[in-house]
Each structure stands twice: as structure tokens, then as C-alpha cells.
Amino acid sequence: MDAPVSTPLLRVAGCRQAYHKDSNADVVVLDDVDLTLQEGEIVALLGRSGSGKSTLLRIVSGLLRPTAGEVTWRGRPLAGPAPGVAMVFQSFALFPWLTVQENVEIGLEAMGMGRAEREELSEDVIDLIGLGGYDSAYPKELSGGMRQRVGLARALVVHPDLLLMDEPFSALDVLTAETLRTDLIDLWIEHKLPIKSILMVTHNIEEAVLMCDRILVFSSSPGRVQQEIAVPFPYPRNRMDPAFRELVDDIYEVMTSRSLTRPTLPVAPADVPFTQPLHNVSTNLLAGLMETMAAPPYNGRADLPPLAAALQLEADELLPLGETLALLRFAELEEGDIRLTETGRRFVEADTDERKRLFADALRAHVKLIPAIRRTLDERWNHRASALRFREELEDHMSPDYAEETLLAAIGWGRYAEVFSFDEEAQQFDLEDIEGAG
């Protein structure tokens, strides 16, 4: 690794991103984020979906203007996409109507480079990245892994100083992703990549530990850098190394401990039913997770990383489940562990009707949105209420995406627990077929 030089490549100071709502306070996505990137390092932005890490990447790339704060690129304030920054997309973002070579050359063409020079550069990169022989293929003829190689080649061919990667491997299957990671790291340590630094967004803890020199762990609502973790291991790294495992465990702990004490949004009083964001996780998954935890070998208590591995879930898939169970007091989260509560055990042992009753009780007690919806329905003469109105109230307190997810979660859980019904066609809540309603 090169020694860090004095002028950083990139500097983000006091960055804040917020949606402005007319009636209420701003909905904050990113708050007070600082980031400095030196030449020669790979840095990960690690966090759950919705922690604003992708937003930060877009701010750094110049695609998005921050609401407040300063972004300095090579000592100058950033104004839109800068030369010297290239990005690899989660969805690959290849042009389906262009061949591999044409896709790779698109950045060079935009610079106004001549045909011969373009071809020379693109052929070098295509060979480097292992795409030789596919020059004239169209993206749809390639497998996912090969497509992402094209995305990588397209970014590398412009010889950027900074390579941005937005969850580059998360759309790939496990084996392909691993091959691509290893290939990339090999090229990096052999200094074959024409780049100075990499900034990547990921939700995969092991990926971050495997590839990066530094990891910034993000917390959600609003997104903040919660902790910065240096990864001291030399390349190539071994996932089975006890020190590696320990660091992964530690990061799990950081991510769960934060969620335990996670306050609801700071701008609104906590007793209003519309301030509490919910994860839209299915009740089947919740029940399945509780059953797994109750059974051996866990017997009511599990360490999160091995549990995630056993269930073949990523950290950011397992954590919402765990948090939802904690919210409903079916389980408790502490220090990277999850433990079933007494109510949780009763739920596992109960039959279908009893489970629904327990779930309904938990919803009424701990999810403020659900009784609020039910109250509205009880008060109306026709016992109907439009979903739109709840969505709008939620949007006063959270970003539209969160509002959508929270509402979907409420609909799914309320339906399962038979607190209310929902008419998809009319987008209305109602009390049809609900016992004891009216």
C-alpha cells in the first residue's frame, strides 16, 4: 500500500441530505457525515438498507447535490460528476443495445477520444478483467458475473482516480460474487488497476472485512457514521482466520447494539403513531425464525453471525427480523445475540388462532400505528379508511420509501393478526370479516 499522501483525494465535511416537507420538519436521510479518502485505500460504507450509504455514494459521485455540507474532490469543491470518478452499479447499468466493447468505450467516447485510441484502451481493459473474446457480445448474452465484469471494465477504462462501487456483488450468486471479489483484490494488490482508491457501499459485513482497509459503519434514521473500524489484516485475507471471525462478530455487535438504543426520529415526539418506522417483514418469516430459535441447537438463544449463516441470510436481512421481534417483545437483542422472551416461547408453542391472538396483542401494545388505524376504522360510520391518508401522515415524519415500507408492514401484520382487513383494489382499510368489529 502507498503511504497516505498529505492532500486527501476526497473530503466530505458536515454532509447532510434531507427531503423537504411542506408542513413539517425535514426528513433527514444523512446527517453530519464526515469522510476523508486518501490515495491507496479501499474504504467500505457498511450499513443497513436505508442508512443513507448509497445516498452518500451518489453525493460523492456528483450525481446528487447535498442539502448541506462540503464535498471537496482533489482540493476543489465538487460541482456535478467529475472527471476521474467512475462507478460500478449494483444493477450493472449496462446499455442492452450496445456490445460489450461499445459499453466499455462509452466513457471514452464521451471524452471525445478517437476511435483507434478507444479501441486500444478498451481491449487492454477487456483482457485485464477477463472478458477477452466477448467484445462483440451483447450484455443479455452474458451471465450476471460477466455482466458485472463489463461494468467494472467500463469504469476502469477511463483510468479514474477513484472507483465507486454501489453494492457491486449483491445481485450475484454467492460463488460468482466471491470469484469477482478475489479477482478484484488480486489485481489491486498487484497494482494492475489504473485507479488510486476505491470507495464501496455494501451491506455484507464479511465482504467489507475481506476487501477494505477501513470500514465506516452507518446507523439508520438518520444515516450517520456510527463507528469507523480499521481492518489490520494483510491481503489476501482468510475468512476462516479466527481474528477475521472476531472482527466480523464485533461489527455485528456494533450494528445490533445501535439498533437496540435506536431512538425514533429525533424531530418528532415519540408518542405520535406515525413516527415509528417499521420493517416490512413477513409474519411467516418471523414465525419461522422464532421456531428455529426455540429448537435445538439454539434453545432460545443464538449468536447472530452463525444464525445468519445457518439461515442463509445476509446481516441486513436478519437484522430487520430480529429488530421486529424485539419491537414486539418476542425476543431481545443484545451484544450480537438474540434471545427468545417468554411471550416468544408461548407464540412458538401456540396453535394458529392462539398465535394470531398473541400477535394482535403484541401489535396493539407496541406498534402504535396499528391501533391508530384500528381506532380510525372504529370511529368511521362505514368502517373504511383510505391507505393514502395514513401514508401521507407517515410521510410527514419519514422519507417516502420508509413511509411505503412502514405502511406495507402495518397492512401485512394487521391482516395476519385480523386487527383489520385491507382492500387492495380500493387501497382502503376496512373491518370486513373481522370478529368483534363494529
Binding site: 450525481l63 447535490r65 460541482a79 456535478g80 448474452e141 455482466r147 383494489e425
Partner: protein, 574 residues
């Protein structure tokens, strides 16, 4: 070519709003303006002498060629319009506010109704010259093609995938490069499909616009349409059949040389990452790809095109345009400007119409419109009853569907007005009720949209659902109601929308018919417009056209869009 792209009409809001009303005023105002500009200049055109139509079949190739040329001239104009209007509407939020409703209204205006204005207008531009007539005909065809193409292009421009948009901005493509590398290719499949549908529809109008009677003047441009008109006037049924035969050949050539290769070629732009079932190359495309001389020529063209579209014109996009903070003052000025324009046009329209028309006339037009509406509805229902079972039967048998589908698309392109004379002859001969028996002519050309959409829908019906239905012994009425009808409903609605739109238009030529000196007139708004045209009564033409446009707009908004939304919501899982 199984894709039945949803018609461009279906997007967007449902209920008419203030901008729609503004748009309606603008469109009608411009029409009236054209009519007024043209009114005074009718007299000198009498002197115009056009060579009479020769009914000898030997002249038909020349006439067919002229008809085809007119069609392509109009297509060129339509493409030009599409590539300017749509980007403008998409890039400027303010312009889009009024431009899109205008397009929506224009789609609903019965084109044949204002043929008379445009003829008068263009002849006043080029007094005493055939050029005016030619331009009027081309303009009429243009108006039948351009709107849905522009709409489709506009829609694609607004739906460019976010990640590709980000990629072009991040790699700093200039606006010109972005247009050709991202926006045009992304819009291509929809645009090609709509262009082809427009062309198919255009044959109907090219035939209708060649022989025009306005007041005491009748003009005939050399072409197949005039040939048929002349044959009707001379009661020469043989010549009619010759014309139908010639048109068949033209459509066949169009289908083989243009339609199929273009649609197959545009498949490469389809935005999908799974290699779809690639249909076999049409013979022409295969020939182009395999013949080395042609291939090299093609590559040279491609290289030139690549350089041309890669020019660094315009600037790279900076930060994304934030739509939250728009200039309120600018909006106010814009709204005011539109408001003033609308008021001025409205006064013009009101003055023009009030000059000769009373509320009685309006009432009469609305009443006749209701009759035509009943006719359209009954005909669409009948066509549905006939073609849905047949379409489902064919669609569920892939071997049949493959063979029949091209034939049906071919039939949809065939100008149905050429087939009117035999019907008219039958009505005259057997003294049938005009009000009833002229009606089928309205759906003669448009029913095929229902058939080919239903075939496509049934062919796309999931195999596992069919198997499940069989496994549970779902049969008979039960099977139709619970299984296949909901499955093909979105396709059926798509087809019915196209068919009903076309039928309104066809009413203008289908509700009146003549055979020599015998004139058949049904009651309806179409006949009202046609007769007003014959009489050169601009006021009643405007009234008729406006009333018909309103019927179509209201029909679309209150029936078709909700129905389509319902059908597609129901038919999709998740």
C-alpha cells in the same frame, strides 16, 4: 412479434383537469383559425384542373406508387414531429404541462372531420396548384400517424431507467450523446411498434384523403383512393376489385419489406436482460445480414451514424435537476401566458360558432353523437363476442397462432374503406335498413385489433394456470369466467381501445355511402360531419368535430382507462 405494447393513450391521469381544458381550447382554436384563414380563398381554386382518373387497371401501378409515396412523405413528417415535440415536452416541465394534454386531445380528434379545413388551408397557401392538394393529403395522413408516435416517444423519455441515467451522467455524456446512446435506443421498440401501427392505420386515411369534396368542388389526386371514388361514381364494380387487388399487393410488400424487418430489428433495443425467444429473422433482414456487400454497406452506414451520434454537442449534465425547488414566478408567467392564449382562442371559437349556430344545433350534434356512440359500443361488443372465442382458440394453439397472427396484422393494415363498395352495393340491391347495415363498416377495419390482441393474450397465458384449471376440472362457462377471460382481459381492453378509437374516425366515412347517384345516409354524428363537409359548412364541421372529440375524450377517460387499470391490476400477481 408477440408484443402488444400498450397503447400510448393509456398513461397518465384519469380525470380531465384544467390543462386538458386549456389544451382542448388550443386545438379547437387552431382548427377554427385554419378554417377562417381558408374560407375566403375557396373561389380561385375552381380553376384548378387535375387530370381525371383513368379506370384502366394498367394505370393502377402508377396510382399505387403515388399513394405509397404520399404515405412515406407523411411518415417522414411524423418522425420529424416526434423527434422534436416529444423531447421538448419531456425536457421542459412547463411546456410538458400543456403539450401533453394537447397531444392527448389531438389523438381524439376525428382526423377525417377536419380534412376539409386542411384542404382549404393548404390550397389557400398554394392557390391554383396541385401542391396544395398534395400537402393537404399528406397533412391528413400525418395527423393520423404523428400523435401516438410522439406520445410513445415522450413516455419512453420519461421512463429512462435510473441506473442508466446515472451512468450517462457519471461518464459525462453530453446531452447529444445521451440522446442517441440512451434515450433513442430505449424508446426504439415502442416507437417502432407505434410507427408501424400508425402506418397500418395510415393506409385508411391516405385512401380517404385523395378524393375530397368540399362544397361544390371535388378534387381528385391521382392514387388508389381516387381510383375507387371514380369507380363508385361510374358504378364500375370491376374497377373496385382491381383496386382492392392492387392495395393487397402494396400492403403485402409493405408488410414484408418494412414492417417485419423493422420490428425484428428493433428487438435488440428491448430493455430486458434475459435472452428472449428470438423469432426467426424475416427473409429481408436475413438477406441483409448474410449478403456481404449489403452487410458492408450497412456497417459503413453504422460507422458514420456512430460518429455522428458521438459528437460532443451540448454539455454533460451536472447535478440532477431538483424538481422540488422550481421557480414559482416563472410558473406564474407561464400559466398566465397559456391563460391569455386560451382566452383569445376561446373568443375566436365562440365568435365563429355563434355566428351561425344556435343551441339547437349543439343539441342536435350531441344527440347524433349519442347515436354514433351506441353504434360504436354495439359494434365493439359484437366484434368482441365474435373474436374472443376465436382468438382464444387460436392463441392456445401456438402452431395456429403463429400462422394466423401475421395474416391478422395484415388485415388490420388493409384500408377498410376500399371494402365498403361491395357492402354498399348489397345494401342498395337488397334495400336494407341503412341505420343498421352501414354500422358494420365502422368496425370492418378495426375489429382486427381485438383479434390479434386476444390471440397474443391467450398465447401468453401461463401454462401452469391452464394445467391447474384442467387438474381441477374447470370447464365450460366456469373456465371462461374464472380462467381465460380474466387472463386475456388486459389484452382485450388494449385491442378494444384501438378498435373503438378507429371506429369513431371511420364513422365519418362509414355513415354515408354512395353508389353512383344513390346516396345512403345513416343517422349519426359521422354523417353530420360528412354532410357538412359536402355542403362546405365550416361552422357545422367545427361543431361536429368538437362534439365528436369530446365524446372520444370522455369515453377514454371514463371508460377505457379505468377499465384498463382494473384489468391490468387484476391480471398481475404482485
Amino acid at each position: 412479434m408477440r408484443s402488444t405494447t400498450q397503447p400510448a393513450v393509456l398513461s397518465g391521469r384519469r380525470l380531465p383537469n384544467i390543462w386538458d381544458i386549456a389544451a382542448l381550447c388550443c386545438v379547437v382554436g387552431v382548427l377554427v383559425g385554419m378554417a377562417m384563414a381558408a374560407r375566403g380563398t375557396l373561389v380561385p381554386i375552381d380553376a384548378l384542373q387535375v387530370a381525371p382518373i383513368d379506370l384502366s387497371p394498367r394505370r393502377l401501378p402508377e396510382y399505387a406508387l403515388r399513394t405509397t409515396l404520399r404515405m412515406f412523405a407523411a411518415m417522414a413528417c411524423s418522425l420529424l414531429f416526434t423527434f422534436t415535440y416529444a423531447p421538448l415536452a419531456a425536457k421542459s416541465r412547463r411546456a410538458g404541462l400543456i403539450m401533453i394534454p394537447v397531444l392527448d386531445i389531438l389523438q381524439s380528434v376525428p382526423i377525417l372531420g377536419f380534412l376539409s379545413f386542411t384542404i382549404a388551408f393548404f390550397m389557400s397557401l398554394f392557390p391554383g396548384r396541385v401542391l396544395g392538394l398534395e400537402l393537404a393529403a399528406i397533412f391528413a395522413i400525418f395527423t393520423s400517424q404523428a400523435w401516438n408516435m410522439a406520445f410513445s416517444f415522450y413516455q419512453s423519455l420519461t421512463m429512462v431507467p435510473t441506473d442508466l441515467d446515472e451512468a450517462t451522467r457519471l461518464f459525462r455524456l453530453t446531452s447529444w450523446q445521451r440522446f442517441w446512446r440512451l434515450e433513442v435506443p430505449f424508446a426504439m421498440p415502442g416507437l417502432v411498434w407505434n410507427t408501424m401501427i400508425s402506418m397500418s392505420g395510415g393506409w385508411f386515411f391516405v385512401v380517404a384523403s385523395e378524393a375530397i369534396t368540399l362544397g361544390d368542388n371535388t378534387w381528385q389526386l391521382p392514387g388508389i383512393g381516387s381510383y375507387v371514388a371514380a369507380a363508385l361514381a361510374e358504378r364500375n364494380i370491376g374497377a373496385v376489385f382491381w383496386a382492392i387487388f392492387a392495395m393487397l399487393l402494396v400492403i403485402l410488400a409493405y408488410d414484408q419489406v418494412l414492417f417485419r424487418p423493422l420490428v425484428a430489428w428493433s428487438a435488440r433495443f428491448r430493455f430486458e436482460m434475459v435472452p428472449g425467444a428470438t423469432a426467426e429473422d424475416p427473409w429481408l433482414l436475413a438477406m441483409l445480414r448474410r449478403t456481404s456487400v449489403l452487410r458492408e454497406a450497412g456497417e459503413a452506414v453504422q460507422r458514420f451514424f456512430g460518429v455522428f451520434t458521438g459528437l460532443r454537442l451540448g454539455r454533460p449534465a451536472g447535478y440532477a435537476i431538483r424538481r422540488v425547488r422550481h421557480a414559482r414566478a416563472g410558473d406564474a408567467v407561464f400559466a398566465l401566458a397559456v391563460g391569455v392564449a386560451v382566452v383569445l382562442l376561446l373568443r375566436k371559437v365562440a365568435g365563429f360558432v355563434a355566428l351561425e349556430l344556435s343551441w339547437t344545433d349543439v343539441g342536435a350534434a350531441v344527440g347524433l353523437g349519442a347515436i354514433t356512440m351506441v353504434r360504436v359500443v354495439v359494434m365493439i361488443v359484437l366484434a368482441t363476442l365474435v373474436w374472443v372465442p376465436i382468438g382464444v382458440w387460436l392463441g392456445l394453439r401456438p402452431a395456429w397462432a403463429r400462422r394466423v397472427q401475421p395474416l391478422v396484422q395484415f388485415l388490420a393494415a388493409f384500408p377498410a374503406n376500399l371494402l365498403f363498395p361491395p357492402f354498399v352495393l348489397a345494401i342498395v340491391t337488397f334495400h336494407l335498413d341503412v341505420d343498421v347495415f352501414l354500422s358494420p363498416l365502422m368496425v370492418l377495419g378495426t375489429q382486427w385489433y381485438i383479434l390479434f390482441n386476444v390471440i397474443a393474450g391467450a398465447a401468453a397465458f401461463p401454462g401452469d394456470l391452464r394445467e391447474a384449471a384442467e387438474n381441477f376440472h374447470v370447464r365450460g362457462i366456469h373456465w371462461w369466467r374464472r380462467v381465460i377471460l380474466p387472463g386475456v382481459l388486459p389484452h382485450l381492453v388494449t385491442g378494444a381501445i384501438a378498435a373503438s378509437g378507429g371506429s369513431w374516425n371511420a364513422a365519418i366515412v362509414a355513415e354515408v355511402a354512395s353508389w353512383g347517384d344513390t346516396h345512403l345516409v345513416a343517422h349519426g354524428l359521422g354523417a353530420y360531419i360528412a354532410q357538412a363537409t359536402d355542403a362546405g359548412d365550416f361552422h357545422r364541421i367545427v361543431l361536429g368535430v368538437v362534439v365528436m372529440s369530446l365524446y372520444v375524450v370522455v369515453f377514454n377517460r371514463l371508460l377505457w382507462r379505468p377499465l384498463y387499470a382494473y384489468a391490468s391490476r387484476r391480471a398481475n400477481l404482485g
